[in-house]
């Protein structure tokens, strides 16, 4: 398992760079991850990220776009605006979670 240094901290990631340890993430780190992929976080982004974090804690897996839209109320269209082109993977990355494994 690769270890990378973000914000002068050692962070465990998978081969692609997604965080593997839920507890190594905090909001400061989330900001750095977002900057890494060219996203400036707004309150709207944070609402999605906090939903993903909370949902993962109870479900044990990363929410899909469908789940985020249904449960957090952020429309799918808006997710594509907030996290352009590949929202599911980008939200997961910024939230320090694995890529969602569901198909839908």
């Amino acid at each position: 398992m690769p270890v990378t240094t973000i914000n002068s901290r050692d962070i465990h990631v998978d081969d692609e760079g997604f965080l593997t340890e839920y507890d190594e993430w905090d909001e400061e780190l989330g900001k750095v991850l977002a900057t890494n992929i060219g996203i400036d976080l707004t309150d709207e982004h944070w609402a999605v990220i906090r939903f993903l974090r909370d949902d993962y804690k109870t479900q044990g897996e990363t929410a899909t776009i469908r789940r985020v839209t249904t449960l957090s109320g952020v429309p799918t269209k808006q997710l594509f605006v907030l996290f352009p082109k590949k929202p599911a993977k980008k939200m997961a990355y910024v939230a320090g979670l694995p890529k969602p494994h569901g198909c839908v």
Binding site: T4, G17, I37, G38, K86, K89, V104
Partner: protein, 178 residues
């Protein structure tokens, strides 16, 4: 697992800084519940990867976008020798497949299994595809055969177009026929 340690920052490559011209076109020609889903799932997955996606609904696939039918697609075990119960390998003998009640039961069971996975029903799924930037097209010949016009079709359908229009719109696309 081998431990590799790297001190450089590992950032996922989302491959989206370069404009991709990858395009996907899916022709949906079936109106059975089980055959409606492959096209929808693949379209949704492609859109989630930032790929321009077009769906063309033709013949029985037209039922997927016809308002009066889209909520009520059926699944039948008739002629499907691979069909078995959700758990285990219990198969329905083909001689029993056409008996009254079998189709509604099989449809209900499949709908439940799909819902249990958090996968939406056909109209909701189309809505999600449109919200994700997907394009829905209806086949001119099918509309004429079934005597339907745009008012009969799901609102997210952009237009009724003919085969040549579709071929033109999907220039350079990868194509799937379902």
């Amino acid at each position: 697992m081998t431990d590799t340690t790297t001190r450089t920052s590992v950032v996922p490559n989302f491959d989206d800084d370069t404009e991709t011209d990858r395009k996907l076109a899916i022709i949906c020609s079936k109106g059975n519940l089980d055959m409606a889903y492959p096209g929808l799932i693949l379209a949704n997955a492609a859109l989630g990867e930032g790929i321009e996606t077009h769906l063309f609904f033709t013949f029985w696939g037209f039922d997927m976008i016809t308002k009066s039918r889209m909520n009520d697609l059926k699944f039948s075990p008739v002629g499907n020798t691979a069909m078995h119960m959700p758990m285990g390998d219990v198969r329905v003998p083909q001689a029993l497949a056409p008996i009254p009640g079998m189709q509604p039961m099989a449809t209900k069971m499949m709908k439940k299994q799909i819902a249990d996975l958090g996968v939406p029903e056909v109209p909701d799924f189309l809505e999600q595809i449109v919200a994700s930037g997907g394009h829905l097209w209806a086949c001119r010949m099918s509309a004429d055969m079934m005597k339907l016009d745009e008012s009969d079709l799901y609102d997210g359908v952009e237009a009724i177009i003919n085969a040549s229009d579709f071929i033109e719109k999907t220039n350079g696309a990868q194509l799937l026929f379902i």
